[in-house]
Symmetry: C2
Subunit: 241 residues, 2 copies
C-alpha cells in the first residue's frame, strides 16, 4: 500500500476547481482512495467567515466570558450545532447540524487569513461525490473520495484525522459472520476503514506543508454508496452521550 | 509513504522469537516503523488463558447475568482493570491496570484456540522495546516499534487500530508554536501520530489474513523514548470520564 502526498501551493479560492487541481498532479489511478483535507473544501465552498461580520448572541457572550473565548467564535459554533454535549475548559463538544460530534463544531482559525475562520462544509458527502464524479468524467478513473478533518478523542491525547464525507466506499468493513484464522466465526469486529484511511493520509499531509490531498493506492476497500451517517453511532447505543 | 504487510503463517507460541520472524521477512530498513498486532505479542508472552481454569467471583456472575455474558470473561475483564467507566449493553468500558481505557479490557476470543482468550500484554512498551532492541542487535537497523490493538470509540461506529505500546518514537507531534501556511502561530494542534500509524497499519493487516505485522516506510516521525502513557488523557482533563 502506498500513500502519495499531493502538494497544492495555491491558496484555494471559490473560483478554483479542486478536481482539476487534483487531476493535474497526474497521479490518479483506477481504484485509488483520494483523501482531501476539509479546509480546502471549506475555502472552495465559501465556508469562510470574516469574524468582524459575526454578531454574538447574549448566550455566546455568556459562554465566552466563562472561558476567555472569542464570542464570535462561540456564536459560529452554536449556529453550526444542534446541541452541546460537553462544555469544559473552553472546549465545546457539540453535535453539529449534520450529526458529527466534535470539538468546536470543526470551526478553525488555522491556515486561513487573519480575522477569518473556516466552517465545516455544509454537506461533505456531496462535496466528495462532486469531486469523485468530476474526476471520473475527466480521467475515466474510478476512485473513492474522503473528506477528512482532525478531531480530538475522549480518553486519549492528541488528535487524529477522521472522515467527515465519503463517496464511492463503504465506510465500515463488517467482519461479522466471517471466520478467523481458527475457523471461528467473528462476532463484533467492524472496522471503520474510512477513519483509518483518513488517519493514514494525515501522516503525509502535516499541518504546515501545503499538502491538503493524499492518494492511497493498493488498499483493498469495499465499494459502496453510503455516506458519513454510517459512521455515526446512534445516541441510544452510545455510552458517552 | 509505503505500508508493507508482513505475513506470518505460523501460529505464535511462547517459544517463538517475534523479532526473528520479523527480521526473516528481509524487509526492514533504517527508519522504518514496525507495527505489531497485540495478539501475537500476547500469545508469545503467555497472556493466553484457558477459560476452564477461570473461577468467576460473585460480582462477575452478577454482572454477567445482566448481559448474558460468559462470567469467566467478565472475571478476566475485572482482574485486568482498575475500574469500570461504563457498563451497558453487555460492554464494559474499563480503565485497564496500565491506564488504557477500552472495551472489555482488550480481552478477546478471536484468532485463538476454542476455549481460550487473550489478555493484553502486561507492559506493551517493554514488549515494543525488547523487539526494537533485538532488531537493532541483529540487523543494525534503527526502527521504531508500535504494538497496536483494535478499539471502539465513543460517538463513531466501527473500530480502529490504536497504539498500546511504543518504542523509539514520540507518540504525539505537537505543532504548538509552529507557524501555519499564513505565518500564524498554531495553538492547539497535537497529532497522535502513534495512533495514526496504528490505524494505517490495519489497512494491510485485515482480521483474517495472518498478517499481524506491517512496516511503514518513508514516514517522518519524531524519535523519542516516551511510552504509551503520553497518549493517555489525564482524568481531570477528560470530558468523558
Amino acid at each position: 500500500m502506498e500513500i502519495i502526498p499531493i502538494h497544492i501551493e495555491k491558496e484555494i479560492e471559490p473560483s478554483d476547481d479542486l478536481s482539476e487541481l487534483i487531476i493535474s498532479s497526474n497521479q490518479i489511478q483506477d481504484g485509488d482512495v483520494i483523501v482531501i483535507a476539509q479546509k480546502i473544501i471549506s475555502k472552495q465552498e465559501r465556508r469562510l467567515v470574516e469574524l468582524s461580520t459575526v454578531k454574538p448572541s447574549l448566550l455566546s457572550e455568556g459562554i465566552s466570558s466563562q472561558y476567555q473565548k472569542d464570542p464570535r467564535i462561540t456564536e459560529l459554533i452554536l449556529s453550526e450545532s444542534k446541541r452541546i454535549i460537553r462544555m469544559k475548559n473552553g472546549i465545546l463538544i457539540v453535535e453539529t447540524n449534520d450529526g458529527t460530534i466534535c470539538a468546536n463544531a470543526g470551526i478553525d482559525e488555522s491556515n486561513v487569513k487573519d480575522g477569518f475562520a473556516t466552517l465545516l462544509p455544509l454537506d461533505s458527502d456531496k462535496s466528495a461525490k462532486n469531486i469523485r464524479e468530476k474526476i471520473f468524467k475527466h480521467t475515466n478513473k474510478d476512485v473513492a473520495v474522503i473528506i477528512s478533518d482532525t478531531f480530538g478523542r475522549p480518553f486519549r491525547l492528541g488528535q487524529t484525522n477522521c472522515a467527515i464525507g465519503i463517496s464511492g466506499l463503504s465506510p465500515i468493513i463488517d467482519y461479522e459472520g466471517t471466520q478467523d484464522t481458527f475457523g471461528k466465526t467473528l462476532r463484533v469486529t467492524a472496522i471503520a476503514i474510512a477513519d483509518e484511511l483518513s488517519a493514514a493520509s494525515e501522516l503525509v499531509m502535516g499541518k504546515t506543508l501545503k499538502t491538503p490531498v493524499a492518494i492511497i493506492r493498493d488498499c483493498s476497500f469495499p465499494k459502496g454508496e453510503q455516506g458519513i451517517s454510517e459512521l455515526i453511532r446512534a445516541e441510544d447505543e452510545d455510552l458517552f452521550r
